[in-house]
Amino acid sequence: MTSAAPSKLVSMQQAIAEHLPSGSSVLMGAELEQMIPFSAGHEIIRQGRRDLTLVGPISDILFDQMIGAGCVSRVMAAWVGNASAGVGYCFRRAVEQAIPRAIETVDYTNFTLAMALHAAALGVPFLPTYAALGSDVVKSNPNLREFASPVNEDRLIAVRALHPDVAIVPVQRADAYGNSHLWGNLGVAIDGARASRKVIVVAEEIVSPEVIASDPNRTIIPGFFVAAVVHEPWGAHPSPVQGYYGRDHAFFTEYHEQSRKQEDFERWLENWVLKIPTRAGYLKQLSETRIADLKVREHAFTAPADFGF
C-alpha cells in the first residue's frame, strides 16, 4: 500500500450511513461466537434501517436484538438464539407472532452456509456437498437443491452461491487501508469478506501498514476488498476478542431474562442501544469495574516467526 492511497478510516456512524441502506443483506457473526460486531449492529438499529436480510452461521444475541428492533425482514442462518442461555426470544416472537414484524427464515446448516459463501468467494454459482441430504433443511431452503453427480452415481446438494451486500468483520487490527489481521478461529470470515460486495472492517486497533506486512500470513482481508475501516475498541462486547477481552457471560444471561417479554426487551433496547449514541457512552454505562473484569489477565504472545531472507 503506497502512502498516497486514501485512508478508509471513518466513524461507525459514517460507515453505516454510507454503506448500509435499508434493504441490504448483511453478513455478521462470521467468526461465530467470538468477535460479533455488536457496535455495528447497534448503530444499524439507531439509524433505523429496515427490511434487512441478516446472513450468518450463528450470531448469538445480535441477530435477536436486530430482529426485536424491527430492522429485519429475512434471516439466512444456521442457528439463531443465545449461545450460552438458550433461545432468542425476539426471534421467536417475530417468527411465531410477527412481533414487531413478520420475518422470513431461510434455514441453513453451518457447513452449507459456509459453502454458500465459499462458492461466492470462488466465483462459481454453486458447490456440491453431501451435508444436509435427507434433512428437512433442504426441503425448506430453495438455495439447497439435490442433484445427480455428473462424474459418479452419487446424489449431492448444490449449495447456491451467496453474495451479501455488506460483510461487517471485526478484526484485532487493521491499517487505515483495510488490510486486516485476525487471529483465533476464523469461522467464515475469509470467504464472507470475499463473497460480499462491500466489507466494513471493525478494528480494535489501527496499526501501520508495516505491522500488517510484518506478518502477512495473519492477513485475512487484503485492503482492496474493504470499503470502510472503523476503529472501535470493545466493539464486539459482550462477545470476546482474543488477546483483547473476554466474553461477558453475565451479559448474555441478563439479556436472556430481559428480553423474555416484548416490553422488557424494548426497555433493554432503549437502555443499551437507543439512548447511547456512541460506543464510548456504552462503555461508560458498562462501568469500569465490569470492563476491568473482562480484560486479558495473562497475555500469551505467539513465538516469533522469521520472515527474513
Binding site: L32, E33, V87, N110, F111, Y130
Partner: protein, 244 residues
Amino acid sequence: MVAAAAREIHDGELVFVGMRLPMIAFALAKRTHAPRATGLFENGIIRDEPASTLLYTMGDPANLFKATFCGDMISVMSLLQQGRVNVGFLGAAEVDRFGNLNTTWGRRNGQTVRLPGSGGACDIACLAQRTVVILAHDPQRLVGRVGHITSPGNGNGGRWRRAQGLPAHSGPSAIITTMGVLRFGEDGEAYLASIHPGIRVEEVLSQTGWALRVSDKLTVTPGPSEGELAAIREIDPSHFWTKT
C-alpha cells in the same frame, strides 16, 4: 450421563465436540480412557488438549488459547465430509425412534415454537461415522416421529440413509438420556440398551413417546467411577452444565 457420553469416545478418535454436556464429556474422556482423542469445533478450532477452564461457548478465549489449530469453518467441517470424523455429539429438543433430530420447530403446550435451528448439527448427523445424541429423558422429547427432520438419523428406518445418498459408514450410534442408553438395531430403530443405576425399565418406557423395544441383553449403565466424578467436578466446579 456425562460419564456414559465420555465412554462413546475411543482413544485416538477425531471427535466433533459441540457445546454444553459434550464439552464436559470430551474433557472427561481425555483425562481418563482417551488421552489421544482430538477435539474438533465447527467454528474452526482443533484441540489436542481440552480447554483449561469451563467453556460457555466454543468461541470462548480459553478454547482458542493453546489450540492445536485455528482456521476457518470449512477446514474443520470438511473433515466430516472426508469421512475422517469418528464421532459427533449432538443435543436436541426432540429425537424420534429412528434417531432423527428436531431443533427447528418445537411443540409446547400444543403450540408450535421456533427453535434456534441446525447450527452444525445436521452436517454432523449426516457425515460423522457415529452420532451420539444427549438429552433429558422426557416423553415430550423422545417422540415417535419428529415433526421436522433438522438432522437426519435413520429416517424411517431400513436403508433410508443410503437411499438419501448419505455416506455408508455414518449415522446414529447412541441416544444417551438421563435414564439410560438407547442404541440402534439393523432396522434403524432405537432400543433400550442400558438403564442408569437406580432407574427401572418401566419408568423408561413410560417416559418414552413410543413403544420402546428393550434389548434381551439389557445392562445397567456403569455409574461414574470416583475418578470420573472427581474429574467432572474439576471440569465444571460451579455445576453450570452438570446440574446433579
